[in-house]
Amino acid sequence: MAFLEVRNIEKSFGKVEVLKDVSFDLELGEVLSIIGSSGNGKTTLLRCLNYLETIDGGAVSINGEIILDEEYGDRKNPKNKKISINRKHYGLVFQQFNLFPQYTALKNIMLPLELREKERKKKGLNYLDNKQIEEESLELLKKVGLEEKKDNYPCELSGGQQQRVAIARAMVLKPDILCFDEPTSALDPELTGEVLKVIKELKDEFKITMIIVTHEMEFARNISDKVLHLSKGKVASFGTPSEVFDNPANDDTKQFIASYERMKNE
């Protein structure tokens, strides 16, 4: 039994089938990159995992416990209530950062923790006080190298800095799996490096399990333990970086890698 098991995910928008029979496994501490051209379902897959879309079929389990199947998201189904609990397995970093503009960098990270600890206090569980919340958040801000920007508002930060704050924020509730939805696609080319470096550090120093949807092929090859190529909503290839990049068995993957190599050489 793998840590994360994704089985036979199906998703359609109206008559358009976006995901067809998508399955893969991921072990604790592994990094998975999902690659493929735009419009092949990468982002939809990540959004399904994060309960931002409902699925039409299939299931996801963590440590053998089902945390998503097609009954989740059905408003009348009691399983729907469990979404808020199951969501805690994931953290999500968005393409557009989506920081809260009215809060400082530090407050952006603190807010989710503050709200959670308030709930815990209400329920009579042990909870962190404000000082501990601030310390923990500041610690995360240090990890992404932005301690000195703690009192700056998002509009005062560069895109790369905003995304680094967003990464820290996604980690504040200590998710099992950190998901990235094209984390550098909205950035100027000269700013992608700092974000990729932070992601690399999180892997090397903290062994965080990650799922990364990305167009950065070099990065995917270097950081990943597993690579998944999605083509027309299906898993075209799934394996180690060298299996997928160097000796792809699948024709679609071959073509995709070849077109990428051509682009790189031009």
Binding site: L52, L92, F94, Q102, L173
Partner: protein, 227 residues
């Protein structure tokens, strides 16, 4: 003569300001409630509220004041309550007119505000909701902790417009003999004195200036972040 008329106009002006202040006090929250109804997923509620807003925005405020003051009495034998405040300028027979005008203004402005709120809420990018959602916030927390302040920042310019219009619209209350500023000035006009009506205009102008300054202060206060 000048001072006597000034003091009479000031009495009228106090009524105007009362009407203005209480209208804002009631219509701002009422508008939010109407906005939630309009945006509700319960279709009949949403359609009903859209219809109400359509009527309130689609007919003259003056007509609405007439209807609210006279129609309940004609149809249901309902009289707007008379309140004894003990104030000389606010006698109990007058209070029923004032309350009817206040109700008309509040409901009418709430309709306009509800549309401004709706525009503000819908202009917040979906990503803000999603980011809050994946961070474990519930609907209430998302609205109050993440969305609300961004909405307030966005709607202040169109709100300022409405607020300034409201100050001048209070003069419509004179159609049911609420003795507000224009009503008093108009009485003078009927006795052959023309200048008090321009003098009254100056009152509105100065008050509007003050309100404009306050609103731009609020706008500045929220300029520390961008949405």
């Amino acid at each position: 003569m000048f001072w006597k008329i000034t003091s009479e106009l000031l009495n009228g002006f106090t009524i105007s300001i009362f009407l203005f202040t209480f209208t804002l006090l009631f219509s701002l929250p009422l508008g939010l409630l109407m906005c939630f109804c309009t945006m509700s997923k319960v279709k009949p509620l949403s359609i009903f509220m859209k219809f109400i807003v359509l009527i309130l925005r689609g007919t003259p405020l003056m007509l609405q004041i007439f209807v609210i003051f006279y129609v309940p009495g004609l149809l249901f034998d309902f009289q707007w309550p008379m309140i004894n405040t003990g104030w000389e300028w606010f006698d109990s027979s007058f209070s029923s007119r004032f309350i009817a005008a206040l109700v008309a203004f509040s409901v009418n402005y709430a309709a306009y505000f509800s549309e401004i709120y709706r525009g503000g809420i819908q202009s917040i990018p979906q990503g803000q909701y999603e980011a809050a959602e994946v961070l474990g916030m519930n609907k209430r927390q998302i609205f109050f902790k993440v969305i609300l302040l961004q909405v307030i920042k966005r709607i202040i310019p169109p709100m300022s417009n409405e607020v300034i219009t409201l100050i001048k619209d209070t003069s419509l209350a004179n159609v049911i003999a609420v003795t507000e500023l224009m009503f008093v000035a108009n009485l003078k006009l009927k006795t052959g004195l023309i200048w008090p009506i321009f003098y009254a205009g100056l009152f509105y102008f100065i008050f509007n200036g003050i309100v404009t300054i306050i609103l731009s202060k609020v706008e500045k206060k929220l300029s520390y972040f961008k949405v």
